[in-house]
């Protein structure tokens, strides 16, 4: 009797939970479908290669080249990740492994707060602090010292509103995500593993290396992927500092434009103009495609790697 009830519970649980899991796919398809449907008018006017590779964006004139936005989105994300990943992983390690519990009490809220500060505040801070910093310090410095090696550091834009500024702001925004997951991963490592390593005379750093690189690698990679995705999707803070220049950037100090910013900048004002709305939905669709292909890439890489590693 009791058993039959439990079996039913189990079945019902499975049905509900499974339905919810599949409904997420449904949601994604629905969003993709809506975007596609609404973007159809411009897809009829412009071919897909034109959308993806053309560099001119003037929807009112029927020019829908989104290449500058795609490149801008990727550039900003890359800069952010290059800054954030090392910082965040190192900090996560320090929080989980080296800090006394009392110091943690002080430092833990730092990541909590960074995670909780709303994007608009990040944007404000970017405008008031980061943009001047890039304009007055970073860009001239890089121009003097690095531009000789790579033109991507040339100080091309005296305003400071740039990929670099957006990347810096964004890096602080994705930082807490990576820190939190890295820390969770490290703290979830079984005590026995730690004991085994310490008993071998490993230093704390060596213990960390093993736990992080072996036991925790999938978690850390996931953290980085999630940080990456967050950077892709961040809108408000980026659009306040990136310069919103729909042009192919040549240097990290160029102004640039991201897909998310494009939508946010125009949607509220232009949604009642059908063609323009359609163009923005097209941008949303392209963003979706970029995110999907990035995630598929990461997933392929991960499954390959993990298969090869084959570790517990």
């Amino acid at each position: 009797m009791h058993h039959r009830m439990r079996r039913w519970q189990d079945r019902i649980g499975q049905a509900i939970m499974g339905a919810l899991a599949w409904s997420l796919l449904g949601l994604l398809l629905a969003i993709g479908g809506v975007l596609l449907l609404r973007a159809l008018p411009i897809l009829e006017r412009a071919s897909v290669p034109e959308l993806l590779f053309s560099t001119t964006w003037q929807p009112m004139r029927g020019l829908f080249g989104m290449a500058p936005f795609i490149v801008g989105t990727i550039a900003v994300t890359l800069v952010a990740m290059l800054v954030a990943v090392p910082l965040a992983i190192l900090s996560g390690i320090y929080l989980a492994e080296y800090m006394t519990s009392r110091a943690r009490l002080f430092f833990k809220p730092v990541t909590d707060l960074l995670a909780g500060i709303p994007p608009v505040v990040y944007g404000l801070w970017g405008v008031l602090v980061v943009v001047p910093f890039v304009r007055n310090e970073l860009a001239p410095w890089a121009d003097r010292n690095l531009a000789a090696y790579c033109s991507c550091f040339a100080n091309t834009n005296p305003s400071g509103y740039s990929i670099a500024a957006a990347g810096l702001v964004l890096s602080l925004m994705v930082y807490p995500i990576i820190v939190t997951i890295t820390e969770e991963v490290l703290r979830a490592v079984p005590r026995e593993l730690r004991e085994a390593l310490f008993a071998l005379g490993a230093t704390r750093w060596e213990v960390t290396k093993v736990t992080l690189l072996r036991a925790g690698l999938p978690g850390v990679v996931a953290a980085v992927v999630l940080g990456f995705s967050r950077a892709f999707g961040e809108t408000l803070a980026v659009l306040m500092v990136v310069g919103n220049v729909p042009r192919m950037p040549g240097s990290i100090f160029d102004g640039s434009y991201t897909l998310a910013a494009l939508i946010a900048n125009n949607y509220g004002e232009m949604m009642s103009v059908p063609l323009y709305e359609s163009a923005l939905m097209g941008a949303g669709l392209v963003l979706l495609l970029v995110v999907v292909s990035f995630n598929l890439g990461a997933w392929l890489f991960l499954t390959r790697r993990l298969k090869r590693g084959g570790e517990a």
Binding site: F198, A199, G201, A202, V210, R214, G310, A312
Partner: protein
Amino acid sequence: MPGIAIRKLNIWYGNTHALREINLDLPDGQITAIIGPSGCGKSTLLKSINRLLDLNEHVRITGQILIDGAAIYGKQVDVTEVRTQVGMLAQKPFPLPMSIYDNVAYGPRIHGLARGRQLAQLVTDSLKAARLWDEVGHRLKESAHKLSVGQQQRLCLARALAIQPAVLLCDESTASLDPIAARGIEELLSSLRQRYTLVMVTHDIEQARRLADYVVFMWLGEVVEHGPAAAFFQHPQHSLSQAYLAREIG
């Protein structure tokens, strides 16, 4: 080979007083067997010699342990150094999340004991000494977590041997082994006696009788009796020891 001196050691887990006023001198170059009923504090004592209890958040330790005359609890002490000197086999074997080969090679690698061919040789030797070579020699690249428990136990032994510590602490290291494999390990430990200071926890009184030079008998967190093995097994002084050896209490 260092001797180990334990002075007024008290250990609390939160409010549980796990070890009470332990005073012991474990002789160097000999095998000390710690025996006593389950939960009496044997593992705790072993871990304290390796400073592994530091990892536990709510542990409080008073007293001192001296290895070769040097105090291991103290602010100045380099814990890593202590642990390098002291090898430890945990009661629940826990392989590192890497291949079988790397499990053994990891210690020598970080300590810079060997590399290349020499390292491979060291790994082979250690696995052979731990009587594991025949079973895993052909699949060294596999994950160590795929081994059976008894194999894991021997792997941990090989891992500890590979870093050539001065002191070796073994917590029930033959508990998951069949008698023949166990006998092999016993022979190994016995042969190591000259080169290591060996402390082993065992619940197998026969094993203690076979191997030990010195015996410590514990009961509810206290050392009830300790002394040379021959004397202890022939003429246990304390009534608890007598009863325990007669298998009347537990």
